[in-house]
């Protein structure tokens, strides 16, 4: 009998040993599907792809009433209260934070300080956009992964101060040498453009403080200006869409791919531009089927026949139509306003120069440098710079210039009150034009203590809805 048990015993032992070994080949649990090492500029390139989304939004475009809905009018009637910022935090901002924190960046993709500086400028830009929409947001404790899953909300004032510092750091650290894989500023000399972009953002952010903290605003404004801002439309931050599906313009997708004639230029825009023969109107709007420019009343609750109104202009919704974000003309209107309110020297004379140049650069930007109708336009009495109504004229021109960049146009309307002829959607239970956007409902569940603290500390009271005001929007 024994000779049976012996091999059996070895066999048993053998299989136990075979299966009890706790070592596996390393390759078996190494994910072959994803890289473990990052490329700083490729992370930046991905973050850049989120830029057009800051403008191309079916929500932001309604608040300053650039577009009206021919059907499905909920968005123009402020039905949605809560908006999700997770996409921005997990997407571009996390990519950029990874670059900023990365200790293993590859200098062959461009000077490492420049990779980090570009990441900081973009981070500041995305974050500026976010805080202007929601107000207080996680910032100092954000993007820490497992280090903090319930980050606290910083006040908007703290965020602005942090972003000013971030932009200062970027400005100071930029050295010669371009970075690779740059979508928005391709070609040689891109780092110089990034530097000007950072300072322009800095300057425009400073101007946001005009109602709430003019002193801080003035000093930041002048610092940014001194560091060197944009000085040509070629410096513009505009997202260059391509004529391919994966990189196409949002509005092309909406109108052409999805065949949705849902967006007409709103009545306030057409009624403001048409009497002045604004050369930009044919770019902004199509004629209706009867051959006229007819704006659609803003915020109606019912569906209309799209053919009766001016749909969004073809030039703006080609597959590769660029999306303008931070532009030279906007900087000029900022300078005009700063001169008028005494933040920079030169008062009305400087204000007029920048105002006139702003209009010209805006027309050049929108009309592909065609300024044939500009001279006549500038002769309109209401367009000619008038010291008595300068702020309104600057505000209105800025509003026109920022066409389609709804969130930015809306922020400037909240800050300046211009244009004054925007009325909330009619017959809408007394709802006013929103002053901020509500937080994502997820936060109420999974970051509740910080969420509650943030809402309780709103600078001018109110609850987490569309009516509370952000810090710089001082009533």
């Amino acid at each position: 009998m024994k000779n049976i048990y012996k091999p059996l015993f070895y066999c048993l032992i053998g299989s136990f040993v075979l299966s009890s070994c706790t070592k596996f080949k390393d390759s078996i649990n190494t994910d072959p599907n994803s890289p473990t090492k990052a490329s700083g500029t490729q992370l930046i390139a991905n973050a850049e792809q989120f830029l057009p989304g800051l403008s191309s939004s079916p929500y932001g475009v309604h608040y300053p009433q650039y577009l009206s809905n021919t059907s499905f009018p909920d968005n123009s009637r402020y039905v949605t209260t809560n908006f999700n910022f997770y996409g921005l935090y997990e997407g571009p901002l996390m990519n950029l934070q990874n670059v900023i924190d990365n200790t293993a960046l590859d200098a062959s993709e461009g000077p490492i300080t420049n990779q980090i500086a570009v990441a900081k400028i973009l981070k500041a830009y995305f974050m500026w956009h976010a805080t202007d929409r929601w107000g207080p947001l996680p910032y100092s404790e954000a993007w820490k992964g497992s280090g903090n899953f319930t980050p606290k909300y910083d006040t908007q004032q703290a965020i602005y101060n942090s972003l000013f510092t971030l932009l200062d750091e970027a400005n100071a650290s930029i050295t010669a040498g371009d970075i690779k894989n740059d979508i928005v500023y391709p070609g040689t000399g891109n780092v110089a453009k990034w530097k000007k972009l950072g300072n322009t953002i800095h300057m425009l952010m400073a101007l946001r403080l005009s109602k709430v903290d003019p002193a801080k605003g003035t000093s930041e404004f002048n610092k940014a200006l001194a560091n060197g801002i944009m000085n040509a439309n070629t410096d513009n931050l505009a997202y260059p869409h391509l004529a391919v599906t994966a990189q196409e313009n949002y509005w092309y997708n909406s109108f052409t791919v999805l065949s949705r004639n849902w967006f007409a230029v709103s009545k306030p825009v057409v009624d403001f531009m048409l009497p002045l023969n604004d050369p930009r109107l044919p770019i902004f709007a199509n004629k209706n089927t009867a051959g006229n420019y007819v704006g659609l009343d803003y915020g109606l609750s019912t569906t209309v026949t799209p053919g009766n109104y001016s749909l969004l202009g073809n030039a703006i919704r080609q597959q590769n139509s660029p999306v303008y974000l931070v532009t030279y003309a906007q900087a000029l209107f900022g300078l005009a306003e700063a001169a008028k309110i005494g933040w920079i020297a030169g008062s009305d004379a400087t204000a007029k120069t920048n105002y006139d140049l702003g209009i010209e650069q805006s027309v050049r930007q929108w009309n592909n440098n065609d300024i044939s109708a500009l001279a006549a336009y500038k002769l309109n009495a209401s367009v000619v710079y008038n010291p008595a109504t300068a702020l309104q004229q600057i505000g209105n021109q800025r509003w026109v210039h920022l066409f389609m960049h709804g969130y930015e146009g809306w922020a400037e309307w909240r800050r300046t009150g211009f244009p004054t002829f925007l009325a909330p959607a009619p017959n809408n239970n007394g709802k006013q034009i929103p002053r901020r956007e509500g937080y994502p409902t997820q936060e109420i569940n999974i970051n509740s203590a910080n969420y509650n603290a943030a809402v309780a500390a709103f600078p001018y009271g109110g609850s987490d809805n569309l009516d509370a005001r952000v810090w710089w929007d001082k009533p």
């Binding site: 091999p7 066999c11 048993l12 053998g14 299989s15 299966s19 009890s20 706790t22 070592k23 596996f24 078996i28 649990n29 190494t30 599907n33 994803s34 890289p35 473990t36 090492k37 990052a38 992370l43 390139a45 991905n46 792809q49 909920d74 949605t80 809560n82 910022f85 997770y86 997990e90 996390m94 990519n95 404790e141 954000a142 993007w143 992964g145 497992s146 899953f149 319930t150 980050p151 894989n181 740059d182 391709p186 391509l242 391919v244 599906t245 994966a246 990189q247 065949s259 004639n261 849902w262 089927t289 569906t303 026949t305 239970n429 997820q442 936060e443 109420i444 569940n445 999974i446 970051n447």
Partner: protein, 1060 residues
Amino acid sequence: MNRKSLLILLGILTCYAVSYAQTTIKGKVTDENSIGIPGVSVLVKGGTVGASTSGDGTYSIAIPASSTTLIFTSVGFTSQEVAIGAQSIINVQLVSDAKNLTEVVVTALGIKRSEKSIGYATQNIGGDNLTLTKENNVIGSLAGKVAGAQVTGSSGASLGGTQKIKLRSVNSIGGGGAPLMVIDGTPVIDYNFGGTENGVDYGNTSQDINPDDVESINVLKGPAASALYGIRGQYGVLLITTKKGSRGGKKVDITVSSAYTIDKVGNFLPLQNIYGVGNSQVFSKLTNGQNFVNGNDESWGPKMDGTLIRKINSFYPQDPEFGLLSTFDPQPNNIKDYFETGQNINNGISVAGGSENSDYRLSYTNAYTKGTYPNTWLKRNNFSLSSSLDITNKFKVGVNANYANNSGQRPTQGYQGSFTGAVQWFQRNLDVNTLRNYRYADGTILNWNVNPNAAGVITSNKPSDWNNPFFDAYEVLNNDDRNHLFGDINASYQLLPELKISGFVRSDILIQNVTHKEPLGGRNLDNYNVLKAQGTDNNYEFLAQYNKNIQDFSININAGANLYTNKYTQTFQSTVGGLSSPNTYTIAASVDRPTSTSYLRQKQIRSVYAMGSFGFKDTYFLDASIRNDISSALPKDNNSYWYPSVSGSFVFSNLVKWKHLSFGKLRASYAIAGSDLSPFQIVNTYGFGSPYPATSGTISSMVVPDGLKNPGIEPSFANSFEAGIDLRFLNNRLGAAFTYYNQENKNQVINLSVSGASGYDSYVVNAGLIANRGIELTLTGTPVKSKLFSWDITVNYAKNKNQIKELYQDLKVYQLDLNTYSSQTIFLNSTLNQSFGNLVGPGYKRDPATGEKLLGADNLPISVNNVDFGSVVPNYTGGILNNFRIWKFDLAAALSFQSGGKFFSWSQMLAAKSGQSEITAALNDKGINVREPIANGGGVKVSGISSVTGLPVEAYVDARTYYRTNLGTKFYDEWVYDASYIKLRELSLGYSFDASLLAKTPFKAIKLSAVVRNPVMIWQKAPKGVDPSELSSGSSSISWIEKGELQTVRSYGLTLNLKF
């Protein structure tokens, strides 16, 4: 050990065994009806030599010359001793012992044991009860037949869509946890290609098991029962035993079964037939003054009162009705008319037989289903072979092989699916038959969701949201095919009468191909995509089994080892930017750079295990097991873990002398089961972003993924205790099995949803403690038993209470899932100290004092976020199975029920939002249609507390504002329903032809049955139109949302079984 030495070993063993045998005795053991009894133990009295009978009751035993007596023992029969004398053939008839009539149960590792020795709950379902009405999916056929099993699945219209099963409620914080399927010992991964509630449900691979091949399914419910399957058996095991050939004689059994059923759609959501398309009750007019209908998709328009209008087809110059006016009329059947009568043809043949030392069974089944959705079908072929051969008395080999091939063309469920959106957004005035010829002779597509301009010209014939449903059916095609091979080869050697060693190589290989074709002219860009997935799972097993009886003690010890390897690869390609040559479905036709991804996943688990069973006097039994798993998916330094189980039973009926008690057993068990995680969850990586194809060269991009991984992950464990009692009375005419269980699953590996402000949306963590307590009760009875009439009834009932006891650190809510429509979000959460899976979403703001709805200045309700609507987990589930035999007729009826569990119905919500639902055109309390102007007595009556004055208000509000912009948008209280139901699932009436009639025919038996599958929902708490038992959430582990179920299907047909 290499192969050579194994062969030598086997050779030595064989020689040894042969030389040891001296005399061989053969024979057959039968019952009172002369039917062979399998598994009877044949022992030499006072010796160590033994054998057991094969499937037909025959045996063969080699005995030492000194032997004098053989002992025949079998569960359920009185033991018998026979003197050998000079006989070489000994046939024995055993007498059944009512006291001990207990079933033989197949337990873990395929070990057959008598029911009385098992210390935990199992439930056995015979094959006949699985094929009552030819349900295609084995899991689907278990609905209502197992206490504690919750079966949810998609409508029959899905043609083999997902059927999911959960045992003992939700035992995972993340909602996952399906039992392991084991077919003749081979674990078969239930790959699920079900997608989500939106899309095509290609089903799970349990549908590749041919129900006709199934002898029985034994359901091992808790971890104790499944401890020997390791981590894969943590949520229970479905042990499927297939039919086998029988040994002895030269007879060959040939069985032919055929079924033909027709499928009819039912359960339509009640819609209004008064108002037609539009968003105001005023007709749109063309410039020529004609009223017309545009491509709007809501029915808040004018009354369908026969007014002359231009219908949508009158705007197509190619249409015979071009330019003509027609009447604006309701189309009550405009959804029903889309469907066709489905057909199902199922033919199977099996050949089974054996010789003295071998058995075999071969089967082939072919099934064809023509769907109820136009142009959908499913074809299926199943082959199976099982055979075993005794090379010598001691050395046995066997093979089980199953091959399944499926190919289908399936409908799409959910929003914008195969006309599943018809109740959501459509026109009550549109006759779907006018859309049937969807393409004019010149190729132009007839669309309904396009808009003519005021001049009556359709300038863009691209639909905004909805294709012509027939265009979808005939040109937007979803095709899949799958080849699936699973089975094992095995060898065993009886080293000693009490010791057997076995080796198994088990494989489960699956290749799935899926294609999607999107033609030019629809609402989407034309597109072609193709997915190929391949999964290979292998198990290499070694098992040693030792059985010994020493006087009153029985000892049974099993020890084994298992190496499991899993490899899954997938490639996916899709065209981007359209097809360069229309209707040329190849990736090469991609206009832009096509999407192309490849994916590889692999994993290994090494296990050893041992189990011992000890019995005393056939009355007291104790089991213990221990298992060690080493998983490659865990961190290197912490990848090995052990877990034990212990269980015991006490057959007190052996001691209690009460004549009415036929059988009584108490049982209890405690078990720990371990669990690992998917591969690649412990190292953070980067992902690939969209490339930017600039003219100067493509710019690649990279992303930080949204999911954060965790290098510190540990194995997690489930602790489970259960106790129960099995009772049978009155000669087994009445039986009850009761189980109480308490299970805690701790420290599970989950993807924790975290605040996106952290830079990630989820984190892989060990977290949580989910507790389930419940009872299971199965009552069986034979209220009537006579020659002409008998009635068997089985009632299953299970009640479960579920609680989340811990989450992660101080986290109070774990977000499992969410859904957003119209910017309103509803969440599926696990909330601390609550039942698993509460639905939280926008709903009524209520007056804190009275609980009444708060109304705004406009008398419309005010909405708030994050109203808790309750848990998706049912309170109790169960079923009733009745089998009647009346003369030669058999009548079987299977019923299932569920109480509680919430679900969210998108269809009901949107039917109201779009003005199609009956309620949107109901009469108010004044008897006036709610759509009439308020000034004329119309409007919807609302009541509540005014948020302005704080006083109660009763008022009338505009119906469209109420339903379209309010209730249908942001008051989910109205659309979250209780899923309670009672459903008659299966009904069959069979007639067995008299054997005497068949004497002169080649047939041994003929049975003809009329069957009905899913005949009627007897009662449901939720309103008609959405079937809570068919919530079509695809492969997602919890079915809580419905975005457009495929239409309910009821099947009626005949089945014919012939035996030769």
